[in-house]
Symmetry: C2
Subunit: 263 residues, 2 copies
């Protein structure tokens, strides 16, 4: 069991209740990373489902949970032959922190019937750049869990040269050797710095809603994350992340609606 598997473990109490322990190793300056929290919730939802894979996850981020014990409450909405639907809620001290609607199904290794043209590939990994290590006082423990190598222009904002467009692209690996699986993909779709940093924004950008689809089981090897946004308006922005596995296959699609940071 890897550290990530351990940190996302959900222990069945009864058919609608799972105990979890939120790990402070996934802090992004205080709040825990949203993708990490989704992975925890998905462990419980999939364990209780007749199907194997979380094909659709929609989450509303209501409040910011603290590291430590929490529970996932499940409500089975439908258990069909092709797909099952569940509402899963992350609860801490009796209060709901994240509410989700999850569809599980069982994906096969079948070849796609149709796949669109892939995006412009990332530069070779050796030309991509890691972020500088965060200062300990910033409490960015999440950064140590993953290894991101960025397409250089998309972290130009670090040195005062943002591209002027919401975008972020990087190779993604777990820091500890671990092949990607659906839970790693839940982490990956929310692992990039907010795409708006590249458009000149700063500060923590709280996710309000995030929906992601698991489209195929990822091959071993690094993932490629393609993040972008269409509109920044009225304090809101969208962030889309497309995840390709090491064979170039589209394995996950996500979109989130988030608030611009005030920092």
């Amino acid at each position: 069991m890897t550290k990530f598997d351990e940190a996302t473990r959900a222990i069945r109490v009864d058919e609608t209740t799972y105990d979890v322990c939120l790990d402070d190793g996934y802090s992004i300056g205080g709040p825990l990373n949203g993708g990490y929290l989704l992975a925890v919730i998905l462990r419980a939802a999939v364990d209780a489902s007749p199907h194997e894979h979380p094909v659709s996850t929609s989450a509303q981020f209501l409040r910011v949970p603290k590291p430590g014990p929490a529970r996932v409450h499940l409500e089975q909405l439908k258990a069909g032959r092709t797909a099952a639907m569940t509402r899963a809620t992350l609860v801490q001290d009796g209060t709901s922190y994240i509410d989700t609607l999850i569809t599980t199904a069982t994906l096969t290794a079948a070849e796609p019937d149709y796949t669109d043209a892939p995006p412009v590939p990332l530069p070779p990994e050796e030309e991509c750049l890691a972020l500088p290590a965060p200062k300990p006082e910033n409490n960015m423990t999440f950064n140590a869990q993953i290894d991101l190598r960025f397409d250089p222009p998309t972290i130009g904002w670090l040195t005062g040269e943002p591209t002027g467009r919401p975008e972020s692209r990087a190779y993604f690996r777990m820091a500890e050797p671990q092949d990607p699986d659906p839970y790693v993909l839940a982490l990956a779709v929310d692992a990039l710095p907010p795409v708006v940093f590249s458009a000149g924004a700063r500060g923590w950008a709280p996710t309000v809603e995030l929906t992601w689809y698991l489209r195929a089981l990822p091959a071993p090897g690094p993932l490629a994350l393609y993040g972008s946004g269409r509109l920044i308006s009225d304090g809101w922005f969208d962030e889309e992340v497309e995840v390709r596995d090491s064979t170039g296959r589209l394995v996950a699609q996500s979109r989130q609606l988030a608030r611009l940071g005030r920092g």
Copy 2:
């Protein structure tokens, strides 16, 4: 009050319950159009919210409701100053048919801080084509509620010439004169024929999950709908619809995960 306003009316019973009547004028061959059902649910959720606009709506389509009386049950998850979150469920005869998570907020008419390059524009409206009127026995009453004018190649599938890619693009108006508003946008994001028709698929393609964001209040005039998909695999496909208002502004973004039809 337009026919659409009437067909989506939600009458408050108490703070968590609204009575609605599902109108058989929105049938797509038996099932009611998903966007219509979302508009009904949103009427209730917004009426009960301290905020004016449904900025994010995620829906799981559990079962196919029948025309006639139904209820919307609301659960307030959070009422913040910037945004409120609600779970809203469409219930008929004691069974849940659609489960949603909705974020409401209040959008202003502010100019965007950033907007990406718009898509390749549709051809002029006079070069676009309507679908032939459906046969009465097909029970496609929905088609009479809206006026869609298609970018011709994207309905080539009608005459045996699909483009080979999942895509559909059209101008959208309500048949009865009505300026677009957030409820019309809920209809618009699910109003196109399934994008997979253009890739050679046929038959009713049931939506499993649909999430759409309201990004700005639409200007009067026709909407332009840009529908596309990335992957058809394992019986699943994604459909994205971007909605621009008559000034070219991005007003809504949706993505759905649906099943390929068997027909």
